[in-house]
Symmetry: C2
Subunit: 602 residues, 2 copies
């Protein structure tokens, strides 16, 4: 079988770079030790090898589709839901009392990463169920929990999140799905929801949709949105299932991730759709944002997993494919020589190293966010506040960098194969198509960038950013203790100063009250920040690797540590300098993209 | 019907920026005037509207495929071949005596561009036939010309170029297809050719394959390759067609351009495949490179046409789709306001302007190359030499920039549509898939970059580069005459100096004899040069637009000229500064991608 992941790389990051052991020391995780995590990772890898990877291509070739009022998906989805549940992977981070394994977020990210690298078309069915159940656990009444969560964690029922409506798209304040109070305390739900991932199929007996809707008379905008649990079938008094007037209208046919259905659901067409309020009225969006924030990290992780799998596919090809010859000292090639493997061509090595630098850097960023989530979970008071803010400031970047640069990474993987990369005989073209959605899922890159520059940079009066800079400073100091890493720490420090200038410049614009101008290049600000934060992660990895090379105490091979340092150098040499151009662009005074007083675009 | 092209933009570039009138002044084109070109462009647009655009989506949804020993393609291919022939578009640049219209290359590029913007899945069938016929016209005997060319120009017979073999890929020196001399002066051809675009279908009675093969006993490497005309059916003495032992083995199924077949052909399996030598033995590669060089410009143009069509599709969406609200002076949005059209969001405008800047800049680069080709054709002596070299130095960039940045452009177009961009209901996803092959066609970006840095920069002892710099200098001086353009001319001048430093640095490496290191970052050198040369084109366009605004003499609207200047400013503000990062990267001393003495990649 082709390899789609390097488990050693994952373990290095989890255990050595991000110090899972330090997280496990906390009482919440007293039932778990490193050994059990190790065993779990192996089990998930075995499961992925056996059940997920083999049907990955097939799920693309036999897309999910609408038929007779329902959605036909690959039959392996059934096995996948069941076995994920048996492994405890649905709600793995939930408290024991809620039926979870009480695993750290870092470990849940790692297991999901393995599964997604094997088959990104399949994992969403489980992960969305997990996320929907999580919302009920966090904000729902005990009755809602008892009614829905056990069946979701057992994989018998699926879960979804229903935000988008045809007229609203990214603009959630324009949601019009209505919720009319009924005498029994439930609500009558009515409206259309589109782009609902995993919204229907025959392998779950029921679906629990977490639906954003507006209670009659609620205020306009996002302050009038409430959250409802709306099952496909409601539970009768006898415990049976009764259709709840949730009709599946269609399945969007897409360029990629074809095995993962994307449905259009119609609620309450016959005025018979019951929904149950989750938490308090009008607070739906803030609840949904818990799921959304987790989902954003998950999107970053998912994109990373595709870049990882694509890297390994192109690496394998490069190691097997002979073509061309190396150039001689004479400047000529010797046609009488045997052809060389393409991995020996510098341009191919560059493309491979770029992929490796992007996907491993992305993974590290995602695990960093997960570590903050875990630390926020187990700590209290000021410490909790600090970790919570670190997580929040990192979230839009951990979503966006892997989605944007992951695309570059996969694109380079395809290019390594030349014409074959474009052909269906090889898997690269599927990764190329699949990954494209990640820059759109859960808020486009534009939306994430507005969040980063417009909200996160000033969060808590700029304190969140200060905390983040402290974290980076710590890595810089650690790297400075190694002579060989000092130049790289110096480079990153210098770039961070440039970024500070940029931010000051932009804040100056914000102070003039021209917020549209202030935010107009937010996407480029995101590009700059993403590269800087991944540089930070690479320096962190290199410092750990260098330390391990010196002490001989690490669990990886010496060669693996040298590779890590080599890839850090690659990132700093080939990616970090691009920040210079962005710094310049972000300080432009041209106002070319504002609509007022400017020429039309035609 | 959706619009896929802006004819005014094309006319502006053709007539005003690149001065077609100046080309038409030469005796070769005495039968053509601007008015007749104008009429031709309109005819081709009408033809494209009627016959090409309507079946574009369908050709994707019903891919070309192998069946019963042949390839099934969309039936519209028949109409397309016939009507293209009727319009004189097959071999439109050929001399009158060879059955052509003796049109300038600039005009042929423009007509192909219109057709490709309408349907990039269809045009290859005609254009390859044209290229193959061109090879026979240039290098074949009168007998070969008489036998094949008329039927090709009438669209009854198709033509292909057969280079790639399974074991050789980009490495043409490893071609093993054999040609054994026969007593009648023909050759017995035997071998496999793969990735043969337009290689077989039922809508041509015959195909003339231009095949690279090795005559028995020929020297190893590229110096032993000859060119043969190998028909699918050979012509009997009675003038009929007799099968020539060319078997269609398969059709590659691909991620994009699904309507354009990509075949695997087997020649001489039954020892009964006749080929006829084109030109002299062992000179095949140099002949093929005539077609290849033209094909490279054509690839750049094709990628540009897709970026153009994608731009117009996303522009239309942005002008029709309401979503979200503009941010107020308060920093808040007012949910009670109506939603605004997304074209009013700065991030969307940025994505649209980026697309426009890339595709129009690409088009200008392609037309610049075509203009050099025309001037080389009509001039003599030193002048011819100069234009020929200008064409050659521009060719790898005119192929690569549109292919690479065109992908970025289409990617931004897809992003404008958000989730809908990923769905089959909208065309963006098709453009996204279709354009991916252009960075691979006719020599990958890596190959083009080696050509640019390793050959073209030093061509004629560096004289070609000097000529190119003179051309750019002329534009800088022209721009300097306009106060408002002076800053931009200054910026480009400064960046060109930086690029000169880079080249000097790299030439220093070459002088040490470490050619592998010298060329290791050629792809990044290409990225830098592409941005610089497109900046040059934008400045050229802006200078023409500024002049027209001043004099009122141009044929476009004032608004159109202002848009041109605005888009130039966008390119200089958002793209040109990225050169700074590349300049730094290209001067790195790290040697991270050479294989000797380095860590493995795993």
């Amino acid at each position: 079988m082709s390899e789609y992941i390097n488990m050693d790389t994952l373990r290095f990051q989890l255990f050595e770079v991000h110090g899972l052991a330090g997280v496990l020391e906390h009482a919440r995780f007293s039932e778990i030790d490193l050994e059990s995590v190790d065993l779990l990772l192996d089990s998930v890898k075995d499961f992925s090898d056996a059940e997920l990877y083999p049907c990955f291509r097939e799920m693309d070739e036999q897309p999910a589709h609408y038929k007779d009022g329902g959605i036909v998906v690959h039959p392996q989805v059934k096995t996948f839901m069941q076995q994920s549940a048996e492994l405890g992977l649905i709600g793995s981070g939930f408290d024991f009392e809620d039926g979870g394994l009480q695993l750290p977020e870092m470990v849940s990210q790692a297991t999901s990463y393995i599964m997604e690298a094997a088959n990104n078309n399949a994992t969403g069915y489980v992960l969305l169920t997990s996320g929907a159940a999580g919302l009920i656990v966090s904000f729902g009444s005990q009755e809602l929990k008892d009614t829905y969560v056990p069946k979701m964690l057992s994989g018998e029922w699926g879960g979804t999140m229903c935000l988008t409506e045809p007229q609203a798209g990214s603009s959630l304040s324009d949601i019009v799905t209505s919720a009319t109070p009924k005498e029994d305390g439930s609500y009558r739900i009515k409206g259309h929801k589109i782009f609902i991932s995993g919204g229907d199929h025959e392998y779950c007996d029921n679906f629990v949709h977490l639906v954003l809707a507006r209670i009659d008379g609620a205020p306009a905008g996002t302050r009038g949105i409430s959250l409802f649990a709306v099952p496909k079938h409601r539970i009768t008094e006898g415990g049976g299932l009764h259709p709840n007037d949730v009709r599946t209208e269609a399945d969007y046919q897409k360029m990629g991730q074809k095995g993962y259905c994307t449905t259009h659901l119609v609620f309450g067409e016959d005025e018979d759709c019951y929904g149950w309020l989750v938490g308090e009225p009008h607070k739906g969006l803030s609840y949904m944002f818990q799921m959304m924030n987790e989902a954003r990290i998950a999107v970053g992780r998912g994109a990373t997993s595709i870049a990882c799998a694509a890297y390994h596919a192109s690496l394998q090809y490069a190691k097997e494919r002979p073509q061309g010859r190396k150039i001689q000292q004479s400047g000529q090639k010797d046609a009488s020589q045997d052809q060389t493997l393409i991995i020996n061509h510098p341009d191919v090595r560059r493309m491979l190293l770029l992929q490796k630098a992007i996907y491993e850097g992305s993974l590290s960023l995602v695990l960093q966010a997960a570590q903050y989530a875990d630390m926020a979970h187990v700590s209290t008071g000021a410490e909790k506040d600090r970790y919570q803010h670190l997580l929040e400031i990192l979230t839009p970047v951990a979503k966006t960098y892997p989605a944007e640069k992951g695309r570059t990474s996969v694109d380079n993987g395809l290019q390594v194969l030349g014409g074959y990369g474009f052909c269906n005989d090889f898997v690269l073209q599927q990764y190329y198509r699949d990954i494209r959605i990640y820059a759109i899922y859960e808020g486009t890159t534009g939306i994430q960038s507005l969040d980063l520059l417009g909200r996160k940079m000033q969060m808590k009066g700029g304190q969140a950013l200060k905390w983040l800079m402290e974290e980076i400073q710590e890595t810089l100091e650690q790297a400075m203790t190694h002579e060989s890493l000092r130049p790289y720490a110096g480079q990153l420090g210098q770039r961070l100063k440039q970024a500070e200038h940029v931010l000051n410049h932009l804040m100056g614009v914000a102070k003039t009250g021209n917020f549209e101008l202030f935010l107009s290049d937010a996407t480029l600000f995101m590009e700059m920040m993403g590269t800087l934060l991944v540089s930070w992660q690479w320096l962190k990895m290199a410092a750990v690797a260098q330390e391990a090379l010196l002490t001989g105490n690490g669990s990886q091979t010496q060669e693996a540590y040298r590779q890590t340092i080599h890839t850090m150098r690659f990132f700093f040499t080939y990616e970090l300098p691009r920040v210079g151009g962005l710094v310049e662009i972000l300080q432009n005074q041209e106002q070319l993209t504002l609509s007022e007083g400017l020429v039309e675009i035609a």
